[in-house]
């Protein structure tokens, strides 16, 4: 699953992910017609609409053995919220539950399903890792991305103070309360720059848009990168 | 004015809508409170030394001052020293019947003014007098019902001869306790409290139980910790070894 933000704004992340998975011996398919998981609709309370999107998405991935998503929030949406949105239709609810079981965020897939804990990569640099809220708290994952980052020989992982603090994205929150969103982002960027890292890494397109957008606006030397771009950098990230 | 029946009626109406929506399992609790208390007492007969060690650690951790004496006869000496250090003159204590010690005899001739709480059923005049005494007291001396090791807490039950303010109004509170009052955990304290409330023979003569963990404190200004806001600024616990 490429995700709407991934498709439109970060296709290089998708390319990195595909390259990485193939290198690890995985056959990758891309069901056409993907749009969005529906989370923006869900979060703002448009549940009827979100259910329609969920239904469609489930259909798109009906035949997939494993569904890998380069975004913690989208994986969370599918895994935790789809069944509830479709609870009034037993067949759809069952289909949602089946999809939930087959869906994985990328780092969770690599470590938890493929059993990969070490990746060969030509990446060089100092990185700080940001725990995206939905991956950390929604899916309970903070170790897999760090394990993978530490395994890359040229990569020095430094701890980011307040790594578990929100980046301020929150989807529509970022434009509903833009000043608060920016103030929260300022803190995150200050923490990142304070580590002396070259890159700020996350597993969520929303976080990367927010953090990357703040970093470039400031002309910071810190680059925002997706985990996949550290693990498979030769795709020209 | 809403009546009890109306108030509860609207609650019952809402509760009826929740049938089957939620499970709930009650918290496990000993069926016989007195038996559970007995178990704790027996445990503490053996474990009191460890509990005392832990109590001391926690008590000092909340800025309490810990003293240890071999017999109750040494307690007045400790209090005299504290009074001297604080330049305090007015000492108020629980009634000797409640404290197990009459400080008027042992401290009275040291230039200290020692008062004790009234016994029996004090009338309005006696209560008013006591209030003035308590307001002027600089050191308050009490016993202890339970010393809770896990948190360094002293649990005091109010009642005849053991007024609430003795451990509250004076700037220094001194509490005297022995091994029989030691308990290790909040859970055990719960057991003791359950037993206290079910046993008619031990019905409390007072309406308040206070858990006291260190001196009075606040951090309301810039989260800076200060002590002695409305209650005591300093607390002392004197452990008496002999029974």
């Amino acid at each position: 699953m490429i995700t709407c933000l991934g498709d439109m704004f970060f296709p290089e992340v998708g390319v990195a992910m595909v390259t990485l998975l193939r290198r690890l011996g995985v056959t990758v398919e891309f069901p056409p017609g993907q749009t969005c998981c529906g989370m923006p609709l869900f979060n703002s309370g448009y549940h009827h609409d979100a259910a329609l999107v969920a239904k469609r998405t489930i259909g798109l991935f009906a035949g997939a053995e494993h569904i890998v998503v380069p975004s913690g929030s989208c994986a969370w949406m599918v895994k935790t919220e789809y069944a509830g949105l479709l609870k009034d239709d037993p067949a759809l609810k069952a289909a949602a539950e089946s999809m939930a079981k087959r869906t994985y965020e990328l780092s969770q897939f690599l470590v938890g399903v493929l059993g990969v804990t070490s990746v060969e990569s030509s990446f060089r640099g100092k990185v700080a890792y940001h725990d995206s809220c939905h991956l950390l708290r929604g899916l309970g994952e903070s170790r897999a991305p760090r394990t993978l980052l530490r395994s890359v020989k040229g990569c020095e992982l430094v701890e980011l103070p307040g790594s578990d603090e929100c980046c301020g994205f929150g989807g529509s929150f970022s434009v509903r309360l833009p000043e608060v969103s920016s103030a929260v982002l300022d803190k995150k960027i200050a923490n990142a720059e304070g580590t002396g890292a070259d890159c700020l890494v996350a597993c969520d397109a929303g976080c990367l848009m927010q953090m990357g957008g703040g970093l470039t606006r400031r002309g910071s030397r810190v680059r925002a990168l997706h985990l996949a771009q550290v693990l498979a950098p030769e795709t020209g990230a | 004015m809403t009546t009890r029946a109306e108030f509860l009626g609207s609650i019952r109406q809402e509760m009826a809508k929740t049938r089957g929506l939620f499970d709930a399992s009650p918290v496990p609790r000993s069926a016989d409170a007195r038996q559970a208390e007995e178990v704790v007492r027996r445990q503490m007969l053996e474990r009191w030394p460890q509990a005392l060690e832990r109590f001391r650690e926690e008590y000092e951790g909340v800025a309490g001052v810990f003293h240890r004496v071999s017999s109750i006869g040494e307690v007045p000496g400790v209090i005299r020293r504290i009074a001297h250090e604080r330049r305090a003159k007015n000492v108020l204590s629980w009634h000797p019947g409640a404290l197990g010690l009459d400080l008027r005899e042992s401290l009275g001739c040291e230039g200290l003014a020692v008062s004790v709480a009234p016994d029996g059923h004090p009338d309005a005049a006696a209560r008013a007098t006591h209030r003035d005494v308590a307001a002027r007291a600089e050191i308050g001396v009490t016993g202890v019902d339970w010393a809770l090791a896990e948190t360094g807490t002293l649990v005091l039950v109010s009642g005849t001869g053991r007024p609430r303010s003795t451990s509250l109004l004076p700037a220094t509170h001194v509490a005297v306790f022995g091994r029989d009052s030691l308990v290790e955990s909040l859970e055990q304290t719960g057991v003791m409290l359950e037993a206290l409330h079910v046993d008619p023979a031990r019905s409390m003569s007072g309406a308040v139980i206070n858990f006291i963990t260190g001196p009075s404190r606040t951090a309301d200004i810039e989260l800076t910790l200060t002590r002695g806001v409305h209650g005591p600024k300093e607390v002392h616990a004197i452990f008496v070894e002999s029974r």
């Binding site: 290198r23 448009y46 929100c166 929150g170 | 609650i11 918290v27 926690e58 209560r127 200060t226």
Partner: protein
């Protein structure tokens, strides 16, 4: 909260808070400290997680038999010589207090900190009736002198620097006081000691009430809770009815985690268990004890979407970790209860429409749920509130248009692809050095402070056909 501040729209209140340098500094220091204290406390407390589960289970179980527990509580209090009053609304609760003051000739009442009394705006009513209420909790005393409302559930004056407090005391009490917390605390101690001794009535809230024994429980640090319940001749406790718990054993579970969650202490300095008025053998204590059980919108949630919010222990932990609260503080929320739980409690007390802006004052990060001692799923209920607001048609029409449009795009791959192509064209004037800035309309809210990546010249879907052919992994 005063109507005046509510007339300013929430985004403006938030803006004012962000511009207030003193507030920003105070908030940063306080919330960071609270977070550290709580974290340290639970780190050394492995039993904590199981106790949180137990605490939640007790709250759930209690609600299933709420009527029984309340009856038991009332019977016990009355048996001990106390009085129980039943207030369906906040107004009724206020009236009961005022009536007691009238009947008993109360001229001055000392108060221990109580959010329930803030909720019903009791102080204003007392003053209007000629009764002087004196707040005795240091933080509440400070904001009472300043004519402000509390900005945090457990540390009401946390938005004030010590310099501001010194100035306030100097102005209101006469004298010149150093900006030193020790000095200022001593001033408050002296001022309030006399009030405790002279007051006719003591008013408190209640952290818990134990049904089985008829005990009202107060968790405090300063000692004012003990003064207020022992020295004046009448004690009145105002309590939300959801605070009742079944037994003493249950109480210990909550005591084990409440102070840790709030301030990182194992226990607060004082936990006071009050069981009825003064007993015959006692030297001190009130002649009369009155417990006012208050509904004020709570009952409606027993079977409602905000049911879990009834478990709240008012510890304030969720405020300290909330990225929004940490930036704007409590006053900007505009209601008695701020922070994540505050949004839910406000909806409970005043209806969903009252939080049409506040329900969106959250990035749904989930930090609140993480630290809640009774594991209240605040983010879920915020989303439910948003759904309720949406169903009621409370959102602005531009928003509804945008989201309808979004759903169209999300359910039509053709529209999605078209959208990408049109977007690529439309964005051209705004692209500078490979980034988007200065976008119009609501997107301008983003680009004022952040760049946006442009829509890629080839989306992933457009690159896929090429990728599908590529088996050779060394070429991009």
């Amino acid at each position: 909260m005063s109507d005046a501040s509510l007339r300013t729209p929430f985004p403006q209140r938030a803006h004012a808070a962000l511009e207030d340098a003193h507030l920003q500094e105070a908030l940063g220091i306080a919330t960071t400290k609270f977070i550290g204290l709580r974290r340290e406390s639970f780190a050394g407390f492995p039993e904590g997680e199981a106790l949180r589960d137990r605490a939640r289970a007790i709250k759930e179980g209690t609600l299933l038999q709420l009527d029984r527990h309340l009856e038991r509580l009332a019977d016990n209090i009355e048996r001990l010589g106390g009085h129980v009053h039943w207030a369906a609304t906040g107004e009724e609760a206020r009236d009961i207090v005022l009536r007691l003051c009238r009947d008993k000739g109360v001229r001055m009442a000392v108060k221990s900190k109580s959010m329930a009394t803030e909720e019903i705006e009791l102080n204003e009513a007392l003053e209007a009736a000629g009764v002087k209420p004196v707040e005795t909790d240091l933080g509440e005393y400070i904001i009472q002198l300043a004519h402000e409302k509390p900005s945090h559930i457990i540390a009401p004056a946390i938005h004030k620097t010590k310099g501001q407090v010194a100035d306030l005391f100097s102005k209101e009490l006469g004298g010149r006081f150093e900006a030193d917390p020790e000095v200022l605390t001593a001033v408050a101690r002296k001022e309030l000691r006399q009030k405790f001794l002279e007051a006719d009535m003591g008013i408190t809230g209640a952290n818990f009430a134990v049904a089985e024994t008829g005990t009202i429980v107060l968790v405090t640090n300063e000692g004012n809770g003990r003064m207020v319940t022992s020295l004046p001749r009448i004690h009145v406790a105002v309590m939300g009815m959801e605070k009742v718990i079944p037994t003493m054993t249950d109480l210990m579970v909550f005591l084990a985690i409440l102070a840790r969650s709030a301030t990182g202490q194992k226990l607060s300095s004082y936990t006071t268990l009050v069981r009825g008025p003064r007993q015959p053998g006692e030297t001190e204590g009130p002649e009369e004890l009155h417990l006012i059980l208050m509904d004020n919108g709570r009952t409606r949630q027993i079977a409602g979407t905000l049911r879990e919010a009834l478990y709240c222990l008012r510890c304030g932990a969720c405020l300290n970790v909330c990225p929004v609260y940490r930036q704007i503080g409590g006053h900007a929320y505009g209601y008695t209860y701020p922070g994540p739980i505050g949004i839910l409690l406000t909806a409970m007390l005043k209806g969903a429409a009252s939080v049409k802006d506040l329900a969106h004052a959250s990035s749904l990060c989930g930090a609140c749920k993480d630290v809640c001692p009774v594991r209240i799923d605040i983010p879920r209920m915020l989303v439910d509130l948003r759904a309720e607001l949406q169903r009621k048609g409370i959102a602005s029409w531009p928003e509804r248009v945008i989201f309808r449009f979004a759903r169209r795009i999300m359910t039509s791959p053709g529209l999605f692809r078209l959208g990408a192509r049109l977007g690529r064209v439309a964005q051209r004037p705004f692209v500078r050095s490979g980034r988007l800035s200065g976008l119009p309309l609501f997107l301008g809210q983003w680009t004022r402070t952040r760049d946006l990546p442009p829509i890629a010249s080839r989306t992933f879907s457009e690159r896929w056909p090429g990728l599908r052919q590529t088996k050779d992994l060394d070429r991009p």
